[in-house]
Assembly symmetry: C2
Homo-oligomer: 211 residues x 2
């Protein structure tokens, strides 16, 4: 029966190879299943212009060629060192520690922080098997040891993994004479108290300030 | 103020150009917004292997090079004519009319139909401004005129657009001596009557058969 099924499958008309290949590629993206990948691939063929497909192809190759990771902070960049680390107007004594590059750019959009960043590239997670050795922490300790740093701002997420990582870094750097702070967690601006989850309400309550 | 904002924006640190380009490309896909596109682009850089990115890039270029539309039925193919139209074992007197190539492959998966297809490439839609002239219908009429066809099976969707299109084709081909059928609409297999929408229940009732 199994071989009869395999035979039937082999006789079945399938998409042309180029489409099947593209479906596989799209399916490698996070949260994209077979059906969505199929939809993306057919859309690419039927609705994108030939030049747009060439641009798309070049943008992908450009990742391999032009983008690398800043050896100083873990950000992505096109030059030797990223544009933030190489900016002389930024305060190199203040380091904001984030889990991902995406977090870095989310903070940059606010246009408030004028120090530099340090991207951990993840957070300690027992369930995902990510230990401290998998994170970009050594170079952070090195910078602190060299005495360049006055303040470390921990901006890891308010999740079990993010909190564990923040706590670990605090203990790791506890012996040095630097200020270690954590970004505030609480109710989002414009949020409704009655819709907030319990942990957020708890954090908002614990973090209350004089008014 | 506007120019001050523009200045602040120009000073803001943004992703490297290759990442921004790739975000734009992903954002062109259906249902993909800015945040998802950003997630896809960063995932591509951080989690896909260099070779996978090259494969992805080649798969895209291959669409332009290797894939074209079957002049006979509107299916996508790598050869002159698609593998279904060129299959001598298939019954060329029975034509199943579908809206999209995706519908065609959905039907092929069932491995039941042994005739050939005709892909309309859409359906008549007043709201989207798609008229009969935008659809691949002329070559279907041509085939019927040539007297090769015995049965046309209309498998357009059970939507306003699909029904309008089916009705139009029925009238267009009414004068020829062929059988025109419509695929059955009703309750899905394994579906629960109480969860079905009213239109589906109505179709299931109208389409009842002797038992």
């Amino acid at each position: 029966m199994a071989s009869a099924e395999a035979w039937a499958y082999s006789k079945m008309n399938k998409y042309p190879k180029a489409i099947l290949d593209l479906i596989d590629c799209y399916q490698a993206l996070p949260g994209v299943g077979k059906k969505t990948a199929e939809r993306y691939a057919l859309y690419t063929f039927f609705h994108m212009k030939e030049e747009s497909i060439i641009d798309f192809s070049n943008a992908l190759l450009s990742l391999n060629k032009d983008i690398h990771i800043c050896p100083n902070c873990g950000n992505i960049c096109e030059d030797q060192v990223c544009s933030i680390c190489s900016d002389p107007e930024r305060d190199h004594s203040q380091i904001l520690v984030v889990e991902t590059v995406k977090d870095l750019y989310t903070l940059e959009k606010v246009n408030e922080f004028k120090g530099i960043y340090h991207v951990l590239n993840g957070a300690i997670s027992f369930s995902k098997g990510i230990s401290i050795d998998d994170l970009n922490i050594d170079s952070l300790v090195e910078k602190v040891k060299n005495g360049e740093v006055k303040e470390i701002i921990l901006a890891t997420n308010a999740t079990l993994e993010g909190e564990t990582t923040a706590r670990y870094i605090k203990e790791l750097l506890g012996e040095y004479d630097i200020k270690i702070t954590r970004i505030a967690h609480g109710l989002p601006v414009g949020g409704d108290l009655s819709y907030a989850d319990e942990m957020t309400v708890l954090k908002a309550f614990e973090g209350r300030r004089d008014y």
